[in-house]
Symmetry: C2
Subunit: 208 residues, 2 copies
DNA sequence: TAGATTGTTAATCGATTAACAATC
DNA sequence: TAGATTGTTAATCGATTAACAATC
């Protein structure tokens, strides 16, 4: 049954990129077919969960055979709207912002950083990787002209909310926030968080 | 009731660092008291969830008054074993590894990077921030001597598993993996993942 | 005191899993 | 065909929430 019209749980959507990543690795290994069992073992989850997750979007496998690695990979790319290249801006040209702007892992996976911004006059104009750092004051016009919908925030925590407000005003629809603070944005804007310390702190709970 | 002896769900443990981070911000703002309602609004979750989560570990609030910001902050620090400084090594001195090694956000939150490793002879010996890059061959002796229990992997995906194997052999108990690949480790070792592309790919599902 | 908020219980909600008919 | 694996259903499991007595 094709459930494309139904509401897909957010937690399911969040697992699709993980499946995609595993399929990509399998493809690189020259694997042609896989099964929910193999994927499940690879990822440390249950095969039933994988089949259930995929069933929200259609029928991609064959009984007895499993899934074509390339085929399922392509289906998931379509479902996640990764059949194009999404431009991306980075705000903040410190350690994190610079590293992220130069990260080579975006290209093969649907994204491309197109500009790097900072509000520090001492940094504006400097070269960072392949970018010349632009002034935050240019964000609005840049976003309007280039139709960018995604931004990464890599500024100090105390400035993150005002940067987020600015980005929302510019029409940015998805924010990946590296600043260790919760952001307040309208429900039309999607925010995701990366804070390595949260992961480390969770791990230390289990130690000692 | 003090439930310290019971098994606490992993998902609850994962939220404690988020509470801690919010309390830290509140403390910086000079706030003395807070409530489950205020924290909940701040974080976009329910107040009942916060009270339930905390109830796994003890009773930290007062009816009518709520929680002392400093008091709850300190309790959570103890629960998460953050009442000390955990040393940390970084393997991989590329963009990500270098940025992470120099990240100033660890110090105030319980962690300190003590060494940076790479297997590329061209990088070994180079200065990166405050570190001289060491050879991967030194990981084993370094970990043994310095009693490090945590490592961050920031090497290319195709080398991540072998680095993880090495770290596990050295006695590392917690791994934060920046390489976009799932790692296979014994169940005694805790692995967490950071892959910005997974977050971006999740967001694009909701766009267009 | 009156108002506010806790910690806890029980109900609800939603996610995961087991099982299996269908079928490649 | 025989074996394997899908997609789906129903059961189970676990997490979240609503409600409230207790009490500061």
């Amino acid at each position: 049954m094709d459930n494309t019209e139904n509401e897909v749980p957010d937690i399911v959507v969040g697992r699709l990129p993980i499946y995609l990543r595993a399929l990509s690795t399998m493809q690189a290994d020259g694997k042609l077919y896989t099964s929910s069992h193999e994927l499940a073992e690879w990822l440390g989850i249950s095969s039933a969960q994988i089949r259930k997750d995929l069933s929200h979007f259609g029928e991609f496998g064959k009984q007895g055979t499993g899934y074509s690695v390339a085929g399922l990979y392509e289906e998931l790319r379509q479902i996640l709207h990764l059949d194009r290249e999404w431009p991306l801006i980075v705000v903040g040209s410190g350690n994190i912002g610079s590293a992220v702007a130069s990260y080579s892992g975006f290209a093969q996976r649907g994204f491309r950083v197109v500009a790097l911004f900072d509000n520090d006059p001492a940094k504006v104009g400097a070269r960072v990787g392949n970018f010349i750092v632009r002034d935050n004051a240019e964000i609005e016009s840049f976003v309007a002209e280039s139709h960018v919908l995604h931004a990464m925030i890599a500024v100090p925590a105390q400035h993150a909310q005002q940067v987020a407000d600015l980005l929302v005003d510019c029409g940015i629809r998805g924010i990946l926030n590296y600043a260790p603070i919760n952001l307040n944005v309208p429900s039309t804007v999607h925010v995701e968080y990366i804070d390595p310390v949260l992961h480390l702190q969770k791990m230390t709970y289990y130690l000692e």
